[in-house]
Structures are given as structure tokens and as C-alpha cells.
Symmetry: C2
């Protein structure tokens, strides 16, 4: 835009909105999880549906942690309660006989209790989230962390998925384009996309692949010093994704404690993305929350001062209710005037959808031992969990058996992020096409097998290394076939581009 | 932020996030619909619940169009389908006997059909919205507008309520802080709030209260010329809220045609907020969409060039499913490269919640004549509609009978926006308190009666005039009491502050 544009006579019949004229921060956003390859996968699915012949029968979306798309069955009790909340007439006495044939009594009781608190699920709620559900979350936090200190409902903000909360918080804490946010590399690209959009500065720190994608405080310190002193970036926050996405590592309480000390020393807000907190596959590395590590930190200074925002979601874990868009964040040590601003921004969107809020309530207060629905609930959750663990191990072994591929174990989350040594000819070929070599590999995998994964370049990786991120969510009875397809493709790819 | 801040030694133990340090565009946002008075109403509700004595028994939220909060019953068929989609086991053959006792067959059939298209409602969907639901919307548009041209599913973007869509579009079309968007005064403050946040320039045009809040093209022309030539604003878009919020006027097709010609001549994108399209209370002023007016415009230049984005929602009409957060926008004449950017932004949020999407499907394809559920559906919709019309007329008459109050008829929407001549003493008193006089009036109304409305200053008004916005949503059996409370308060307020 130049000043002369605005004063000149408009030229009717030309587009106002062009790629050139629109918001440059929008244009700068990149989001590979649903980027070029995922869009191509959608097109392939439509071509198959239209009867076109492909080397495969179905497209398998491993680009995104979307369990129910791959037929993971939703938790029955949760859906029973949600179904009753949708149709409150069922809770009237005259329907009791028919209803009790198809809904268990504890689901009926729970729906009644929820509706008593919520009113109608079709009404806008409190912008911060329904007060009784925030109380449920606060109780859950205290129990999960086995802390003396109870959770505080006023610290909880319900959101439309964790992404919504992350965007809100990154937005609020960005003062100018010099505001810096430390993000891991590799990272979940929500972070880089949001920072591009709000025009803040990402300050990347690298995870050490050889050491199981571990964090190193000395490296963090060097990174922040360089950013502050050489690049004059106003570094304000440290993002930790734990368990890691795309990397799957799960941090020990000692590491969390050290990171909190680092945040205190460096005056950083800690943003803890903990959406995979129940996707934990190694018994020697349990999940510990930053909330617990903060409340139990040996230093009172750290406990009383470090500003912590932690995020959780109903989309992951064994629940996988991605389509509802529900989640929450908890603010600790955040000033009231800042919270007021967060509330105001939430109020402009009126409220998080109530269906997502209800699932947060159920996630945080599921059936308990002794409840009618507990055995079925427990069986469903552990069935999904054990199956996820088996699939993670199987796929990890498959990758590690492939020539030139090396894959760290998933301690947690829903992904593997193997490194792939690509032949020089393939790299050259990709460069001729003007795309990154891992992009080329993933595209060829999709076209050959229908398997859609995300190139490592979408998450960030050490220069000269190539990765891909895949979920391990294909159904267990199809899993061997899925692994076989990936293996066969890799062999033939290496064959085609061998030096 | 100054450069020296970033290089100085951090001072552990001081807050990173303070009112001073956070995003100034966040701080600039104002949103009165859930602002100071609405927050006070929440506090009063809690005080009542805790047993405190007040001059009233309940808080009545007339600050926001939230019908189900005030016990408007949801449309039964919609909720039956949604309830079945939540719990697909009910659709299995073995449950048929019990299920058919409590759900009508057409709801069962519809839920099966939806789930066939959607898969699980717990899965992330296509980021633009579920393809089959976008087809439903496209068919609906053609039928609603009785146009030859069919709607195009690729033009439809499903959203989490209309607000979400408005924010996306305003964001995409803003290039710099010199980008100008014409908004009505008074306006729904989503527009001013979003423009503050994205740091674009509002270019206000005034509606003529005396002429039923009408629009005047000559005034629009003068406004845009001044903005472009004197203020060097790059004016890009014109927002029209039709039917009006807070003002309730409904525009004729001729006016829409003239506005489209104006947009062509002035090279403006037209943003049409049409969320109240079925809240139409005068038979001589039916709703006509901008889509219809564009497709039927006499000038081919206008038809082929004017960039139109129109917004709709499941939150209003007779549906009132605010809590689900569902809606859509349609893009006409918008360039593909710009649509790609809109899609990308949607993909970072993964997808609009699927529960909202399903209700969009039902809104756009409700039971038809001959369907089992049609008579009940029809009775519910017309019952709500007739009741809304009666309440609008009653409250309008009440306002017009009050001393110093004048209220235009609501042709549409859910609100009245009367002008109130406040006594000089009240104005003085408000000024001493440092708040606007209409804010003071509304606060006093709340404290005396529990009725929560929004001061006109939250929407914009001609300087020196004072208004309030109230819904007419209190339940009909309580409506006389509600009107009486407002009347009595007004009389005593005038008494207290008479000159």
C-alpha cells in the first residue's frame, strides 16, 4: 500500500483482494501438517472415490493425530452422557423406561448433573468456561499431581482445543516483532505458524536426536544469550512440548525443575504444551506436569514467581475427540490485569463451544472404581493404550530395520520422527523440482502407497538431515499391511535413486 | 520494548507479563456486550446464589442474543439427530426397538446419513468444513434465493460461529494499519474489536435513526472520499449488517443493488453480516440476501466483479444454538490465491468443531413437508417466531411510552436500540464518576432490577445521544414483569435526577 494508491481514482473491475494486496503475515504462515502433501492426499481420495485407478485402495492419513478418523472407537460413557445432554427430553420421567434400556444409570445421572450446572448446551456460556467445569478441572489437577495445593477454577480457561489457547497466549505476550519466543526444533508447527502470523520472533533451540531428543540447559542458555545480546531480541517465553511432538520424548521431574530454574533466572514465561500427558509408553519415564514441578520446586522464589501457562486437550490421550475442539489452559503466577485481558479476548469470541467443554468435564472426571460404567470405561481406555504402545513399538522396529533409517523410541505422544539418509541422486532430483528432499520422499510415498505423512522440514531439523513424522494410528488389523507398504516403498525408492 | 531492555541482565522475580508489557493491540480491544456491566451481572448472580439480599430475585441477561440461556427450547428434531450422532451404537440393529420408542424414524435416518458422510463427529474434518455439509449449504443458498445459479460448495467455509469467519476475513484483507474498513454506527462491536486487534482503521458511516436507521449512498460516498483523500486511508471493504444489529432495520433489494453498485464503483469488498436473516418481523420488508442481489444485479460488471463475503450462523434465527459455535461464510468473486490463504489459516486451527457443522447441515436442510417430523418442527419454529414478534412489539411500545425515550421498530434481528434523553443531572453525575452517561444509566438499571443491557456507547452513537441495546428474549410468561421493572426503574431514575 502506498499513499498514492488511496487517493487515486479506484479502478472498478479489478480485484481488491489479491495475493499481493492481502495481509503479509497471513502469507508468511506455513503449516505442513495440513500443507501441500495433505492437500494432495485429499485430492487422491476424491480421485479414488471417482473410480480412478491408483497403486493403492485407500488413502491413510498419518499426517495428523486424528484417531477417530482411523476408526478408533470413542469412549462409550463420554458419548452416552453427551448424547443425553443433546436431547434433555430423554431425562424426563415419562421416557425413563425406554431410556434406561439404552443408557446406563450413571450416564443418566451425570447428564442430569451437567445440565443442572450448564443449563442448555445450546447457550453461550461464561467466556472463560462454565464455572462448574473449571472446578472439575481444578480438582483433577490436584489429584493428577498429588499436590497439597488445590487447583483454582479462576486459573483455568476453557478453550476450543489446545491450539486456540496457545494462539491466545502467544498473542497476548507479544509486544512487538522483537518479542522472542523460544521453541524447540523440531516443533509442532502451530508454534512457528502462530509466531509468523503475529509477527513475533521464534528463537529456536535444538533437541538432541542422538540423546533421545533431549534438552540441554547449557544449550538453552547459549541460545538465549545470543538472541538477547547479538540479535537484540526481547526473549519472553520458553515453549516446552512434553511429551514431545513430533519427537515423543518425556521429561523427568529433575529436568522440569531445572527448566523452571532457568526460566526464573532468565525471566521467561514457561508455556507447557502437555496435550500428550496420558500417551506415555515407558514405565520408567512417567509424565510429570510442569504444574507439579513448579509447586514442588525447592526454591520459593521459583515457586512464587515463574509465570506458567500449561495446555491440555480432549483431542489426544485415549479420548481422541479432535472434532469437538475442546481443551483448557491453566495460568499460574500470571498477574490479574493480564488475565483480565485474556478474558476480554475470550469474550469477543463469546465462549468456547459447550460440547467441547462438556468433554473436558468428562475427561477430568471419568467413571471411578465402583461406578456402573467403570469396568467398560477402564477396558476401553486400556485397550486403546495397549494397542497404541504395540503399534509404536512395531513401527519403530520397522523403521530401524530399513536401510539408512534410524528412529528414536517414542516415550510418549502419537508420532515417530525417523531420520532418513537419502541418496544423493534423490536429493539432486528434489532440488531440480525446487522442493526439499524430505518433501520429495513423502510425496513419492503418498503417490505409491496412499500413506500420507509430513516431511521433517515442516517441523524443523538440523540442516542436511531429513526426517518424516508419522502417526502410529492405522488400525491394528491393518497395521502389518501399512508397515509393509512403507517398507516396500522405501526399498524401491532406494533402488530407484541409488548412487 | 527498548533495545536496552533486551540486553540488560534480567531481573528474576519480576513479572514478565504486565499490563504495560503485553500486546498493545489486545489492550486496545473493547467489547461492551460482555464488558464491565455484563461482568458485574455475573457477580450479582453469584451474590444472589450466595444468599445476599438484592432488590430483585434473578439477573436477566438482555445484553446478548442468547435465547437458550433464557429457556428457549431447542428445535427437537435437530437435537434428536445430534443426540444419535453422539452415540452411534444406537443406530445398530440390536438397539432398534428401544431407540425407535424415543427417536422418530426420520431423525434416525438423518443421523445415519450424516455419519456416513462425516465418519465420526470426534474426528478432525476437512479444514474448510465437511464436503457434504458444504453441498447442503450450497443447495440451501440456491433455494433461499430462488436463483438459477446453484451455490458452489467450494465457495463455502464452515466456521465456529459467524464471529470466527468475520475475524478471519477482516484479518486476511488487512495489509497495514492504513487499511480501512467501513462499518456502520451503531455497529455490533465484534467489528470495532477485531479492527482494534488487527490494527486496521475503522471508517465509520452513520445510520439515520429518524429514518428507521436507514443507509444513504450519498453519505457513504462522502465518507469514503474523506477517508481516502483527507486521511489517506486505503479503504477496502464495506460492512453491512442486515438485518441490523443493534438497530434491526432490514434493507430492500433496491438498496442492496445500490450498495453493490457503490462497491463496484469504489472498488470495495462487501462483507454482509446476515446472521439475522430469519428474524424478520414485518411482512412488507422481507429479507433479501446480498448473494441474490448480486446474482440478479442488472450490471454484468457488478455481477462479475464485486467481491462478496456473506456470513451466517446457527446461533440466531429460531434455532439459537449459540453454545455450539457454528456458521459459515460464502465467498463470491474472490480470487483463488486468496482463498488458498483463507484455507491455510483455517487449517492451522485444524477444523471448525464438527458439532457446529452438523447443525449447519440441519439448519440448511430441515424437515420438509411430508416428513414425519415436519409438523412438530414447523410448530416449534412458528411458535418461537410469533412469540419473538409479539415481544418485540410489546417492548417497543413500552419504550415509546416512557418519558424521554424513543424507539424505532425492529424490522428484524433480536434487539431494540432506543434513544434515551437523560436529565442533565444524571449526565453530570456520570461525568463525575468518569463513565459515559448511558453506561451509568445501564449500571443503575442492573443494580435496581437485575436487568443487564448494553450501553449505546458500546455500539457507537451520534455524539450527545444516549442509547441502550436490549434483547427482547426474556420468556413470554415473565415478559410483563420484565417490562414493568424497566418502566418503574426509568420513572424513578428520572425522578432522582430531574432538573
Amino acid at each position: 500500500m502506498t499513499l498514492t494508491d488511496t487517493t487515486s481514482t479506484p479502478q472498478p473491475g479489478t480485484k481488491v483482494l489479491t495475493e499481493k494486496s492481502i495481509n503479509k503475515h497471513v502469507k508468511a504462515v506455513e503449516y505442513a501438517v495440513r500443507g501441500r502433501i495433505a492437500i494432495r492426499a485429499e485430492a487422491l481420495r476424491e480421485e479414488l472415490a471417482a473410480g480412478e485407478k491408483k497403486p493403492f485402495q485407500t488413502v491413510v492419513n498419518c499426517n495428523i493425530g486424528n484417531p477417530q478418523q482411523l476408526h478408533q472407537k470413542p469412549i462409550t460413557f463420554f458419548r452416552q452422557v453427551a448424547s443425553l445432554c443433546e436431547y434433555p427430553d430423554l431425562l424426563q420421567d415419562q421416557n425413563q423406561a425406554a431410556v434406561s434400556q439404552i443408557y446406563p444409570q450413571d450416564a443418566i445421572d451425570r447428564a442430569k448433573e451437567l445440565l443442572k450446572q450448564v443449563g442448555s448446551i445450546g447457550a453461550y456460556s461464561h467466556s472463560q468456561g462454565i464455572p462448574s467445569i473449571r472446578r472439575t478441572v481444578a480438582n483433577f489437577l490436584q489429584q493428577r499431581d498429588a499436590t497439597e495445593q488445590p487447583g483454582n477454577p479462576n486459573d483455568i480457561y476453557l478453550t476450543q482445543g489446545a491450539s486456540d489457547g496457545v494462539k491466545t497466549i502467544l498473542t497476548v505476550l507479544t509486544e512487538s516483532s522483537q518479542t522472542g519466543i523460544m521453541i524447540p526444533i523440531p516443533q509442532y508447527p502451530l508454534y512457528s505458524a502462530t509466531l509468523s502470523f503475529i509477527d513475533a520472533t521464534p528463537v529456536p533451540y535444538y533437541l538432541d536426536e542422538e540423546q533421545g531428543w533431549s534438552l540441554d540447559i547449557a544449550q538453552l542458555t547459549a541460545t538465549i544469550q545470543k538472541a538477547r545480546q547479538e540479535d537484540h531480541v526481547d526473549v519472553r517465553a520458553l515453549v516446552i512440548i512434553n511429551p514431545g511432538n513430533p519427537t515423543g520424548q518425556c521429561l523427568s521431574q529433575q529436568t522440569l525443575t531445572d527448566l523452571l530454574t532457568f526460566c526464573y533466572d532468565q525471566r521467561l514465561v514457561l508455556l507447557a504444551d502437555e496435550v500428550y500427558q496420558t500417551n506415555i509408553y515407558k514405565s520408567d519415564r512417567p509424565f510429570v506436569s510442569f504444574r507439579k514441578a513448579l509447586l514442588e520446586h525447592p526454591s520459593a522464589d521459583v515457586r512464587n514467581h515463574v509465570e506458567l501457562v500449561s495446555f491440555h486437550s480432549i483431542s489426544k490421550g485415549m479420548i481422541g475427540e479432535c472434532g469437538r475442539r475442546g481443551g483448557y489452559f491453566e495460568c499460574i503466577n500470571i498477574q490479574q490485569s493480564v488475565r483480565d485481558q485474556i478474558y476480554k479476548m475470550a469474550s469477543v469470541s463469546l465462549c468456547p463451544n459447550v460440547h467441547g467443554q462438556i468433554l473436558v468435564d468428562l475427561m477430568c472426571n471419568p467413571p471411578k472404581e465402583g461406578d456402573l460404567s467403570y469396568p467398560a470405561y477402564q477396558a476401553e481406555v486400556s485397550g486403546i493404550f495397549e494397542s497404541l504402545r504395540r503399534r509404536a513399538q512395531k513401527l519403530e522396529a520397522v523403521f530401524n530395520a530399513m536401510e539408512g533409517v534410524s528412529c528414536q523410541s517414542a516415550q510418549g505422544a502419537m508420532y515417530l520422527f525417523p531420520t532418513i539418509t537419502l541418496p544423493a541422486k534423490a536429493i539432486q532430483h528434489a532440488q531440480q523440482l525446487g522442493i526439499s528432499p524430505d518433501d520429495f520422499y513423502c510425496e513419492q510415498l503418498l503417490e505409491a502407497t496412499g500413506v500420507c505423512v509430513v516431511p521433517g522440514s515442516g517441523f524443523g531439523q538440523v540442516k542436511g538431515t531429513y526426517h518424516l513424522r508419522t502417526t502410529f494410528l492405522p488400525e491394528e488389523h491393518l497395521f502389518d499391511e501399512f508397515c509393509g507398504n512403507v517398507q516396500r516403498f522405501h526399498t524401491s525408492f532406494l533402488q530407484q535413486y541409488k548412487d
